[in-house]
Symmetry: C2
Subunit: 231 residues, 2 copies
């Protein structure tokens, strides 16, 4: 069947595959830096510690980037994955919360290289409001609504205390911000059309704890039980 237009038969790519893309991107970036021009799935496989089959299958979710008998052109593949991930887009980004985490995010210049341009930071602390981080002004959180209605804001990075997170998230989502990058240990749920990506640092740390326990013995220090339930 042919309907006269390019059919959108592309099957939705699974999250498992998508989550591996940034890792491919990193390895390809390293290869580029090492001035390696071509790479086979076999060779990449041994570098990354995953099967060559998986690499080929992952990449083929998005199209045939390789060539039989040759492998993949590193620069080409790097750029293609970049396009898939959208690192060539420019996202207008704000940071909410200028505590240590917010400042760490603001100072992490590499996000900019991936398309995430930080255009403003917001906080409630009068001592911070008016100051700058890397030429980015810290504004009063009160002015959030004004700012967003006067500037395109695609993404908000939320680095605010636990209790305030849902409130702030609701405020930005209501204003049409499309993506939230949340650092609070909670699962944000909002009645808006917004993509939420969580960075649950404590979860990651607890998984480390689990793996340590699995392998080593840490009971030696089990003096006090810890039954409180705050995060």
């Amino acid at each position: 069947m042919y309907w006269g237009v390019k059919m959108n038969l592309k099957k939705k790519v699974s999250l498992a595959v998508v989550k591996r893309l940034p890792r491919y991107y990193r390895y390809l970036s390293d290869l580029l830096k090492m001035d390696i021009k071509r790479i086979s799935s076999q060779e990449l496989s041994s570098r990354m510690g995953i099967t060559a089959s998986q690499i080929r299958q992952d990449l083929n979710c998005f199209g045939g980037f390789g060539q039989q008998g040759y492998g993949y052109n590193v620069e080409y593949l790097f750029n293609e994955i970049g396009n898939i991930l959208g690192t060539n887009n420019k996202y207008q980004t704000i940071i909410i919360g200028a505590g240590n985490m917010g400042q760490a995010l603001a100072n992490y210049t590499n996000f900019e290289k991936r398309g995430f341009k930080i255009i403003s930071i917001f906080d409630v602390d009068p001592k911070l409001v008016g100051t700058e981080i890397r030429d980015i002004e810290i504004r009063d959180l009160e002015t959030l609504e004004d700012f967003i209605s006067q500037n395109y804001v695609d993404i908000a990075m939320l680095a605010v205390p636990y209790e305030q997170t849902p409130v702030v998230a609701e405020r930005v989502a209501k204003l049409g911000v499309r993506g939230l990058w949340n650092f609070s240990p909670m699962d944000l749920k909002l009645p808006y059309d917004v993509i939420i990506e969580n960075v649950h640092l404590s979860d990651s740390l607890m998984v480390l704890g689990y793996k340590l326990n699995e392998k080593f013995d840490f009971t030696r220090n089990d003096s006090e039980k810890n039954n409180d339930c705050d995060f």
Copy 2:
């Protein structure tokens, strides 16, 4: 067959299950705070947005914590999962790198509540060395070897610049530190018996970017192509 000792027939729990545990722990913590005494897999299912079947199957990897016709006792289950995750252990932890990320980690008091006691911070900046964060002294990175050999250190949180990460990781691993929590966008690989847990912030952000592109159109700002490959 019975060999006189408790047999270790427990099948290794898959990482997929382990990674969900902290999330269960969080929800149970919330229930505790709300003074809810019991919960069925059904009810928890609708709160968490996963199937009741998965919850029951996950929990049964570690033992039968529930009761037919009743459900799960919230406090009991919370404590059991805490034990599995090892939140009742005490891990002697150091932070390496007192930049914004290191300071953010040092100020995040909740890690302490999960058993991760930060006993020292290390940096190379002479302006920081000697100062304190929450009564934790920042020491010269030069003194790392001395410190570790004189104190039990279970875990090192690595919040140092990209290039220095492998070097520092090697140093602590060599000294017998058991776990590394790495914030650099690289896959650490070390010839030591050490558990490494990575927090790849840029990866997470790029997945957010992918999801945004999948759903919305961000090509409007595609003015300059970005082909550099630094992280």
